[in-house]
């Protein structure tokens, strides 16, 4: 603080509080809606204070209400999203870790070619090659499978780069010491590299878990069977069928359950999240 000016500090607090209210508003509104009955939700103005139907709404939505609307249970949607997010996060970290290890700690022909092949994928987000990638998945028979939902999203340059940058800062003496002690590459990887990378892995995990959980276009394309939908797609399908009989209370419950898990991950792993965000720079 340069100078002590109470009024300017007060204004700052005020700006932040208003900012937080704006940021929280959509989530608050949806949460409030999830505690009202369907009739109260569709007849504006809805009260902005919690309603009385919280227990019923959540109980019914989980106990088969959502299943009657979109043909797949809420638990199944949550399960699918969790599997997809975890598989993408863990898979991406694993393959990136291995390839960065190869690029940094070995000398072999065509290394630069492989490095550039990985690098170029930065420039090919799934959105620009939707149709042909979809066709690959169809040809491989991976429609409606977890493999189809996750594998195409696993290869990416960002995680490989992060690990590469980090490995380059590891002193060569460590490698030398490991070699003198007769430790092979796997031993070195397991006993030295992995423990040293723990923070980087945690940071990447948060970012990639969010990335996997919030996927939209890809799960929309590769799932025909409702049972394989992620919760984001399931929610979209519930809203799609919107007509007079849409149980909006279930929609609101699903929306809340779709955003809580990633928010919990971000808030609980905040320290690593901020680190991961700043270092991967997407």
């Amino acid at each position: 603080m340069i100078e002590n000016r109470p009024i300017s500090t007060l204004v700052s607090h005020l700006v932040l509080v208003i900012g937080i209210l704006v940021v929280a508003l959509p989530i608050y509104y949806t949460f409030i809606a999830s505690t009202h009955t369907s009739i109260e939700i569709v007849r504006p103005p809805m009260s902005l204070l919690p309603g009385s139907a919280l227990v019923e709404n959540y109980g019914e939505a989980i106990g088969g209400g959502v299943e009657r609307v979109v043909g797949v249970s809420l638990e199944r949607l949550l399960f699918n999203s969790t599997v997809v997010a975890l598989a993408i996060a863990i898979g991406k970290i694993a393959i990136s870790f291995l390839s960065a290890f190869a690029i940094v700690f070995f000398r072999f022909p065509l290394k630069m070619l492989f490095f550039w092949m990985i690098f170029v994928t930065l420039m090919l987000p799934v959105e620009v090659r939707i149709l042909p990638t979809y066709k690959v998945i169809v040809d491989l028979g991976m429609i409606d499978t977890y493999a189809g939902l996750t594998l195409p999203l696993m290869a990416s340059a960002t995680a490989t780069f992060l690990f590469r940058q980090f490995f380059l800062t590891i002193p060569g003496e460590l490698v030398e010491a490991a070699r003198i002690d007769n430790a092979g590459p796997f031993r070195f990887m397991r006993d030295i590299l992995l423990p040293l990378s723990a923070t980087n892995i945690a940071a990447l995990f948060v970012i990639l878990f969010i990335y996997g959980w919030t996927q939209y276009l890809w799960p929309l394309l590769v799932t025909n069977d409702a049972k394989m939908n992620t919760i984001v797609i399931g929610l979209k399908r519930m809203v799609d069928f919107a007509d007079a009989s849409t149980p909006w209370n279930y929609v609101m419950v699903t929306a809340i359950l779709a955003i809580i898990p990633p928010i919990v991950v971000v808030v609980l792993m905040q320290r690593w999240f901020v680190k991961g965000l700043v270092e991967t720079e997407k």
């Binding site: 103005p45 190869a102 070995f106 042909p132 996927q215 929610l235 905040q270």
Partner: protein, 293 residues
């Protein structure tokens, strides 16, 4: 490259295999297919196709629908980036100024990052849906004719706000990091010279923040171009009357709904060129930023 390496000859290839296989199967092969198809014209049933050279590109670039979509995307991206960055900068400078409660503010501001873009759009739709949204009701009761399902500008406003809302957290965290990197001595010196808050901000803090601002401008543009498909698809479906049809939405729509494979592939190729340009720009800039600090 490490100075000390392991002597194995085959092992590095094995370690690289998973990533290279995924990259080839899901990136290079599809991208080459997009390039290949962009010079073919196929009938909708996929029975025949013929080489047509650059005809698909000519057709797209002279198609008023495509040019309209390009304009929509540019307006949408710039508005989203500027709105989100302006709000985030205001919040970040405020957070820099307070001492007490800084961490609580940060925790409360980072949520939206975790919300899927499609859901962010739906949350705003719940509030502003003309049929059931309470805020739409309030707007209408006060004499404002609010109907984003019919009015293109209002639909655009809604998707911009939803897209910008989602991105506030990201920009906030980067602006906070950028502000913390500015040497305090500079600001103190200006304060001693009698420069007050606003003057200090515009003459010292804002110029020194330029690298962060440029970086965020690129990242936000890329986000608005590609990651907001979910918002458009879930909230407006490109409508009303194509008022919110962005380029990515159009690729999807032409390919999967209208089954114009050649046209869709050619659009993909144009998008690839846009991403490559943006990424190259970003890298040049990131290098500069490293140099700067």
């Amino acid at each position: 490259m490490q100075s000390v390496v392991f002597p194995n000859k085959v092992l590095p290839y094995l370690l690289l295999t998973p990533q290279i296989v995924l990259t080839v199967v899901f990136f290079f092969w599809p991208a080459s297919q997009a390039l290949y198809q962009s010079v073919l014209r196929e009938d909708p049933f996929g029975l025949r196709s013929g080489f047509v050279g650059l005809a698909n590109f000519r057709a797209i670039l002279s198609n008023p629908d495509y040019l309209h979509s390009l304009k929509v995307t540019v307006v949408f991206s710039l508005a989203t980036a500027l709105l989100s960055m302006a709000v985030a900068l205001l919040l970040a400078t405020s957070a820099e100024r307070v001492v007490r409660g800084r961490n609580i503010y940060r925790t409360l501001l980072i949520w939206p990052y975790a919300v899927a873009p499609a859901i962010a759009g739906m949350l705003w739709l719940f509030m502003f849906n003309p049929a059931m949204g309470t805020f739409a009701y309030i707007l209408r009761r006060n004499g404002f004719h609010w109907d984003p399902l019919l009015n293109g500008n209002q639909a655009m406003t809604m998707v911009i706000i939803a897209a910008a809302w989602k991105q506030i957290s990201y920009n906030f965290l980067f602006f906070v990091a950028g502000l913390q990197a500015i040497p305090k001595s500079l600001i103190e010196a200006a304060a001693i010279d009698g420069a007050r808050g606003a003057k200090r901000f515009w003459t010292i803090v804002f110029p020194l923040l330029a690298p962060t601002t440029f970086f965020l401008l690129v990242v936000n543009t890329v986000y608005a171009f590609f990651d907001t498909f979910g918002i458009i698809h879930a909230v407006t479906g490109g409508g009303p009357a194509k008022a919110t049809e962005t380029l990515v939405y159009k690729v999807y729509n032409d390919g999967f709904v209208n089954l114009d494979l050649g046209g869709s592939a050619a659009q993909s190729v144009i998008l690839m060129i846009i991403v490559i340009a943006l990424t190259a720009f970003q890298f040049r800039f990131v290098e500069k930023r490293v140099h700067y600090s």
